[in-house]
Symmetry: C7
């Protein structure tokens, strides 16, 4: 299940093109499709939605997210579904 | 829709001259036309408006914004329209 | 209106000698004439006034301001007048 | 019991493949199997669970966690069971 | 009035030996005679007084102040006199 | 009593294998046996206990602690005993 | 009175072996004898006391204190005596 993850950024690499959950330090949560990331963990999401629990608060579309505002990123579908 | 975004800063590059939404760590939100940015994500906006939800709180005009105060930047018109 | 701004610091360069509004992370706002700045966005203002909305709270005169306390800098007269 | 720990990261090395407790600055606690880490203490957990005391709040599955959000990491089973 | 200030640290240089007001991020304010500073804006003050508005809360004498705790430094007598 | 302490890290060196009190920025306090530390003041403790005043809140066993969460470290038995 | 202080760290150098007051960002105050410091302003104090105003809250003995938690250091006896 975790094949091929030797370094932390490997998980972001295999998540490109997939939907991910991003937990921010401000307690905000974003869900979107991971398009790009860099070593600062700055990321770009597509079809980004700001979530309140299971409800969509805002549709943000394409979004650039600063890495230093992120707590964790979870690409597993279990996290996104609930 | 996300053609040509390989690195996070690519999204800022293709957003030059367009209106963007900037979410700040202080919970403030700014909307303005992206004129310039650097690798620290310092940005300059024109016709900047400080927003409270959908209402304009202040017209700031040309504005220099420090990168370390930014949470996310969303150039999609969906975000700006609400 | 935004002629000549290719990099964020260009806006600070063309604002030297002019009155600017500085929004601080602490929610304080300062208005003063920009005399100098460096790459850390440390700045020196002259005739500095600490503002509460449109009221002057304190006259600070010449002031050195650390860059890491700044959220945004707006040299447009629209911001200062209202 | 503490054989072979000469540098702090040695403890993370010998914890690979084992369940660990991660205390975050936001007061959140995560439990999961350590798959990978780097010198910034960015880590990847598998079967990640967000905990409230002894109760599972959310199943997050595979999770990338930024090092600068971590207070401590405790691989001892005593911490996880108690 | 602002002759000779080309870079922000020039203001600190011409303030050596004079009384300055230092606004800290913690909302504390210190007034004292500037003896020394470095590029981190670490400073040493003599005859330092911790102020609550116009009242002296504590006499601190010689004081070393870390630069990263400072918001602004105002050497103008207007600021110190209130 | 303070023989041989010329640089701050010397105190951590002579505390290896001894019980220390660690005060965290989050107001948490940990007590444990110092096994290892590095220049970032990341440390590993054995037999770690999270304390509330003089009471043990949790037994954490072996624990990796990030240096940037630490306020002070006191190896003196007086601190641990109360 | 301030002879020989040309750089901020000079004040810490001439305070070695003397009692100093350390104001922390967390509002805690420590008093102790300065044994050692480094360029990060990490310091070691001996006979450290955590103070609440003029009362001793805890005796900490030998203490390693991280520089990034410090607001100011005042070696003047006036500060310590209140």
């Amino acid at each position: 299940m975790a094949n091929g993850i030797e370094r932390p950024l490997d998980l972001l690499n295999i998540s490109k093109g997939k939907e991910i959950l991003v937990q921010l330090k401000s307690e905000k949560q974003l869900v979107g499709t991971l398009l790009a990331f860099d070593i600062h963990i700055n990321i770009v999401l597509d079809n980004t939605k700001e979530m309140h629990g299971n409800e969509v608060k805002r549709n943000l579309g394409l979004t650039f997210l600063r890495g230093d505002t992120i707590v964790f990123i979870s690409p597993a579908s279990a996290a996104i579904k609930g």
